[in-house]
């Protein structure tokens, strides 16, 4: 085999790879859950209010009232300011139109951290400021918790991003849906894994019950308000921003669907 043959083989390989990839990208864009969330009926009402107005933490809360009664779901992005998938997708979610229920979205929960593009805001890691059965420990955490108590959500979904993969890399928790004991997380994850290509087996999502008390927002909501609570983690490991957003978007739509907000069932997608 001479050099020309080797170069020809490498060129054919590159063309073949791009052709297959184009087909894969096309199939991934056809997500029935996201489509249902984007193309639902016009909302009865969309309200924007400010959390902690006239403070450094001031950030909008969007409330979308669907035409039919249903669950109240709160979606948080930007609890960590450098986890852009949660921020970008929750901004998208403010444009979604569920069929039933009330969708409450906080896209930039720790606004200072988001503006600085850093994990932590002025008082450190926001997701360590929500001790169970105690008052939240910072002004921002108290403001958020006041809003959570006011909306009294049936479901809380907090969107995050890790650097590695749960159970593969010791320190990291990516590609996992942590959840309260009552959550139908296995069903959601089974559907979400339809979005993960079969040839990326390490990236398949896992559902992990999270019952040990610790000062995380979703755990406080589960323990004190009885909310069905989720913390979603995708990963930066081998994934670009577009892929992280795709997984985050797909997970959010599935949580809404499973809790009755969208007219699409898990069985439809399979």
């Amino acid at each position: 085999m001479n050099r020309r043959t080797v170069l020809g083989a490498a060129g054919s390989l590159a063309v073949g790879t791009i052709t297959v990839a184009t087909a894969v990208v096309r199939s991934r864009s056809d997500d029935a859950f996201v489509s249902a969330a984007r193309n639902g009926p016009p909302a009865d009402d969309v309200v924007t209010e400010q959390l902690l107005p006239d403070t450094v933490h001031e950030t909008p809360i969007y409330t979308i009232e669907a035409p039919a009664d249903g669950a109240t779901v709160m979606v948080f992005g930007g609890v960590h300011g450098d986890e852009y998938n949660g921020i970008e997708v929750s901004h998208e979610v403010t444009e979604w139109r569920p069929n039933a229920g009330t969708l409450v979205v906080v896209p930039e929960t720790d606004r200072v951290a988001v503006e600085n593009e850093r994990r932590e805001g002025v008082d450190g890691d926001l997701n360590r400021h929500f001790p169970i059965d105690e008052e939240p420990t910072t002004e921002l955490a108290r403001g958020i918790w006041d809003a959570v108590e006011r909306y009294d959500p049936d479901v809380v979904l907090d969107l995050h991003r890790s650097l590695g993969i749960f159970d593969l890399h010791q320190r990291y928790v990516g590609q996992a849906l942590f959840h309260s004991a009552d959550a139908p997380a296995k069903e959601i994850v089974a559907s979400l894994n339809d979005v993960v290509p079969w040839y990326m087996p390490a990236h398949r999502f896992v559902a992990e019950p999270s019952t040990h008390p610790s000062p995380l927002l979703f755990k406080k909501a589960a323990h004190e308000l009885g909310s069905t609570a989720y913390l979603f983690e995708t990963t930066s490991f081998m994934l670009d921003q577009e892929a992280k957003n795709t997984f985050t978007r797909a997970a959010t739509a599935r949580v809404l669907a499973r809790h009755g907000m969208l007219e699409v069932s898990m069985e439809v997608e399979r």
Binding site: L13, I165, Q170, Y172, P197, Y199, M238, D240, A243
Partner: protein, 96 residues
């Protein structure tokens, strides 16, 4: 003819195997949409290698495992290249 060290280290079978392991995975690393089934061998080598590395040295970021990944892919390629040369040699001897 006995294969030379140079042919085992940089022969066509070695180079093609190396390209097959590294290029499809590298494309997927650059842009996730470019991950394809062709990237699976490289993907598995990187995933397992980074898991072992992370267990031994948890402080390192996961991109640093590109260095051992390239080394591992080359070692595998050399093994494939050597096997290929050996098979070719056996076939040519049986023809004589």
């Amino acid at each position: 003819m006995t294969p030379t060290i140079r042919r085992i280290l940089a022969g066509p079978a070695t180079i093609v195997t190396f390209i097959l392991l590294v290029v499809p995975f590298g494309l997927g690393w650059l842009k996730t949409a470019l991950f394809t089934p062709l990237a699976l061998p490289g993907y598995l080598i990187y995933a397992v290698g980074s898991a072992i590395g992370n267990a031994i040295a948890p402080r390192f970021e996961l991109w640093v495992y590109w260095v051992p990944f390239i080394a591992a892919c080359y070692a595998i390629s050399v093994a494939v290249g050597a096997s290929y040369e050996w098979v070719c040699e056996q076939l040519s001897e049986s023809d004589q």
